[in-house]
Symmetry: C2
Subunit: 261 residues, 2 copies
Amino acid sequence: MEEGAFCINGLSRLLYFCSRMSNKPTLFTSLSPALLHLYDLSNSIVVIIDVFRATSTIASALHNGARCVIPVDSVPKAIEISKNIGGIAAGERDGMIAEGLQHGNSPLEYTRDFIENKTLVLTTTNGTRLLQMALDRNADTIISGSFPNLSAVCDFILSEKKNVVLGCAGWKDRFNLEDTLFAGAVIHRVAKHFTVHCDSSLMAETMYAKNKNKLVEFAPKLTHYHRLVERFGLIEDIKFCLTPDLANVLPLYNDGKLVAQ
Amino acid sequence: MEEGAFCINGLSRLLYFCSRMSNKPTLFTSLSPALLHLYDLSNSIVVIIDVFRATSTIASALHNGARCVIPVDSVPKAIEISKNIGGIAAGERDGMIAEGLQHGNSPLEYTRDFIENKTLVLTTTNGTRLLQMALDRNADTIISGSFPNLSAVCDFILSEKKNVVLGCAGWKDRFNLEDTLFAGAVIHRVAKHFTVHCDSSLMAETMYAKNKNKLVEFAPKLTHYHRLVERFGLIEDIKFCLTPDLANVLPLYNDGKLVAQ
């Protein structure tokens, strides 16, 4: 028993120092906007993750030909900007289309017929707020990710070879599992190219690996599922948001806009 | 597929509304002190969890006959109070015995020979700070828990029939897995007596259930393990902190002191 413990200990020490000695970039997972201040964003790519539904909707709109998505933090701002530029004002508050707007935060609303060559001005409860926080904290690069654009996110962070912070938007600062599962999916694919020394990332990858073949079946256990499905019947939204690569674009933030790369 | 989804959806809806209709108390898990403000503590038992090592040390000292443990937030305060009452000043900063103190935060230091009938005045990096936050937010009842007193914690919260917030101390506001695993162990035992509608709790219970028979073997994956074992060689501390019921007392906070019930 003592000898076994010593072996584990020795191996772990070796791995730990090897990773410390390596020149791999780091990868951290921030489980809530209220924890984002713990991470140095100034030399990192920050992945904004709001699976239900902002970052799924952003991927959907851009994949279907939207010129860009302008994330804003209030309904009046969404209305004003969309008027000025002839865009589509859209957004939700507490899961519903926000008062004063005609379009909400469902990825299925933004078909090619509707959104191609238009600009979407989007305000949401959690995702747009987290993006603003990353901006305020001088993130080096900001992209957005969800299952529908999982491969595009992984390809980008692998090609850039920079530090990464996976930023979960959560729900009003509370931890949620759908964002964590997406962080886990990214880590599952890219971990060997990064130094990942962070319990949040270990947990996220473990939760994803355990559920990766049954994400839609797992969804009814999630708090947010009840908000969206029990109250608003949005099961098709849930399926879209949890399915990899249905809208495989890379939304990159630059000068106030998310544009497909 | 659609039919299956409908069945899951229908069952989930039923379970959800049943739990909402029940009179069971609620149970939430706060994954970091930086998230504690999201929970209403004023009508809840708050379980302070700092597995490596404050709440393991508290259980150890009280189990071995300490009169009480006085948690304080600074080294000078620990020295002053212990002088006034003839107690033992102890504590750590960043995993080491704090400067100016003779005793640290190892549960193995507090044998019966040493601590019986004495008062321990303890200051630690994370645990004592979280306890102060719970006090400031008017927690109804404060207890402390770790694996060495798992059963005592579960028995108490089952007998009280009040709402519960499991408060993970983390590491300088970062999420850590050892505290989450203990929260999961509590949930694993008591869940059916509570309304648990919280992704943090679902995740904690899942992580615990997956690792419950190999906690010590899992430990080398934890960030904090490296801090304690690689730097300070504290493998025996780790084993103690992760073993259920080695010091099965219930530390209840009252009037500045944690006393065994």
